[in-house]
């Protein structure tokens, strides 16, 4: 077998050094009743690389690749062009096959890029400090709520109806089992005044998203002030991080914790994961943050170097008193993020954001001209909601039959709610072209 270097001769020699007659002897602590006499039954034997690759091509052939078809789905995962350099870098073995940098002398590569990543995240979000990444945006958001509960010693989170429904679901699951309240404001992105009115002395935090799940762009400055007046924290979630190239950062609106899904930069769609959660906060809450942190220091020769720091917050030291049970982060996805953002730089990131907004504007205008289609957004970045004259799920299926991936029916994520049945959420990034938009418009006219 190609991954196993030991030969039978090696094995015999090693057993004699050990003083065992057979490998079975080494497994003697396993109760006899549980020791399998042979390999696990009902499973195929090993295969060569060619056969394995062929099997995966078989899986791939049963899917419709977004690359080969007009594509307009967003809703928390966005299709962007990732430069070839990014994928090359993350496949370097020194990055790919390295562990968590617990030995800083021989992991300065990982530590320095994470330090750069943390700095980039603070710059984008307008916050003071950021950690070395979370699993993804949704789990990061639930961690932010737990952090707010710790800081405020309160146990009620208010959740905007503009938050991605699956993010809300992750918070609600955490709330149910970890014992706090997650109260939902109405499922309407316009809930700002409602939220301000609902903040009270029991509220640990308010969770909003910008742009919202439905694409609206909001100013949360007043909400932040209301939160702070009541001793609560404002958590701002960004699922499309490219928007920060064009929009006022949450830090400027008064956010206390910012969580972003970083997938859009450097990471492909990948059917939902792995992605990378960005997590940033204010200096004063630094020690309440979950996840790993990289800090700057010097070595015995006085040279600058980087180490994992403030690790007493973490599970391997604090055990049952840790800020979070998280052990892994999303190191390699953070590297993809940081390499891509470094390639973009100030000018490239701003232009990428402009391009996304322009493409989405073009698509919105084209769709609004289709009879029966109503654009619901006054504001948006690269994603918006339209109302159709019939259930959006049917329309999306009809479009898929024409090999067009024409957005997300909101009812898929908010089921059993007649008010969203006809809503269709569409995104257009820099990858959208007229050659893709025009067939969508034409097909939509046919199926409506």
């Amino acid at each position: 077998m190609r991954y196993l270097p030991l030969t039978d001769a090696d094995r015999r020699e090693m057993l004699s050094v050990i003083g065992a007659k057979s490998v079975d002897e080494l497994f003697r602590d396993v109760p006899a009743s549980a020791r399998l006499a042979a390999k696990v039954g009902g499973l195929p034997d090993h295969q060569g690389e060619l056969e394995v690759e062929r099997a995966f091509q078989g899986f791939a052939a049963k899917n419709l690749s977004p690359a080969s078809t007009p594509f307009f789905i967003g809703a928390g995962a966005y299709r962007h062009h990732v430069p070839a350099t990014v994928d090359y870098m993350i496949q370097r073995g020194e990055f790919l096959t390295s562990y968590t940098p617990y030995q800083p002398e021989i992991t300065q590569g990982t530590l320095q890029y994470l330090f750069e990543f943390q700095t980039q995240v603070t710059l984008l979000t307008g916050m003071d400090v950021a950690n070395a990444s979370m699993y993804d945006g949704s789990t990061g958001t639930a961690e932010a709520v737990l952090m707010a509960n710790r800081i405020t010693r309160r146990h009620k989170a208010l959740i905007s109806g503009g938050l991605h429904p699956q993010y809300r679901s992750v918070i609600e699951t955490t709330a149910k089992w970890e014992g706090f309240t997650a109260a939902l404001s109405k499922t309407d992105a316009e809930g700002l005044e409602d939220l301000i009115a609902a903040v009270d002395r029991d509220t640990s935090c308010v969770v909003v998203q910008n742009p919202s799940f439905f694409g609206h762009i909001r100013d949360f400055t007043k909400l932040a002030a209301a939160c702070h007046a009541a001793g609560a924290l404002l958590i701002v979630v960004v699922t499309e991080v490219v928007s920060l190239g064009l929009l006022m950062p949450p830090g400027e609106m008064g956010a206390d914790i910012v969580v972003c899904e970083g997938q859009s930069i450097g990471n492909g769609l990948g059917f939902g994961g792995p992605y990378v959660g960005l997590f940033a906060t204010r200096d004063k809450y630094m020690r309440q943050m979950p996840g790993r942190l990289v800090g700057e220091t010097v070595d015995a020769d006085g040279k600058r170097g980087f180490v994992l720091t403030l690790s007493t917050r973490e599970q391997h030291i604090r055990r049952e008193k840790a800020t979070s049970n998280i052990c892994t982060n999303a190191g390699l996805c953070a590297l993809a993020f940081t390499v891509h953002l470094t390639l973009l730089g100030e000018a490239g990131f701003a232009r990428l954001a402009e391009l996304n907004h322009a493409k989405a504007s073009q698509l919105a205008d084209k769709l609004a001209a289709v009879p029966g289609v109503k654009l619901l957004n006054d504001s948006f970045f690269n994603e918006f909601t339209v109302k159709l004259p019939k259930p959006a799920a049917e329309v999306v299926e009809a479009l898929a039959a024409k090999r067009i991936l024409g957005g997300l029916p909101v009812s898929r994520l908010i089921p059993n709610d007649p008010s969203v049945e006809n809503l269709l959420l569409l995104a257009a990034t820099e990858t959208a072209t007229d050659a893709g938009m025009d067939p969508l418009v034409a097909a939509l006219k046919e199926v409506l």
Partner: protein, 125 residues
Amino acid sequence: MAETKYTEEHEWIRVEGDVGTIGITQYAQEQLGDVVFVDVPAAGRTVAKGEACAVVESVKAASDIYAPASGEVVESNAALAETPGDVNAEPTGKGWFFKLKLADKGELDGLMDEAAYDAFVKSLG
């Protein structure tokens, strides 16, 4: 006259009048190594005997500090935020943690005096 008592968790409390000053012992700071952060309770907080009310952290360890007696925190050592190394340098001096207005001085009766504490540390090897 000030009287100093010790706990088995390696805290000391020095009582003057009805106020006790609390910190960790020389032995405790040696076990911890370089102290990097101390989280002290805010003035005004009421603590019960045995309640975890402060945290002392080194690079590799974090330890809770338990109130050796009940009372109200009247002052905490703000300087430790800037110079946590004081805990290593002068654990029973500049490295104090917080001052407690004692609710019941009788609670201190069960604690060790210096000789008893020294013997206790010796018994730990």
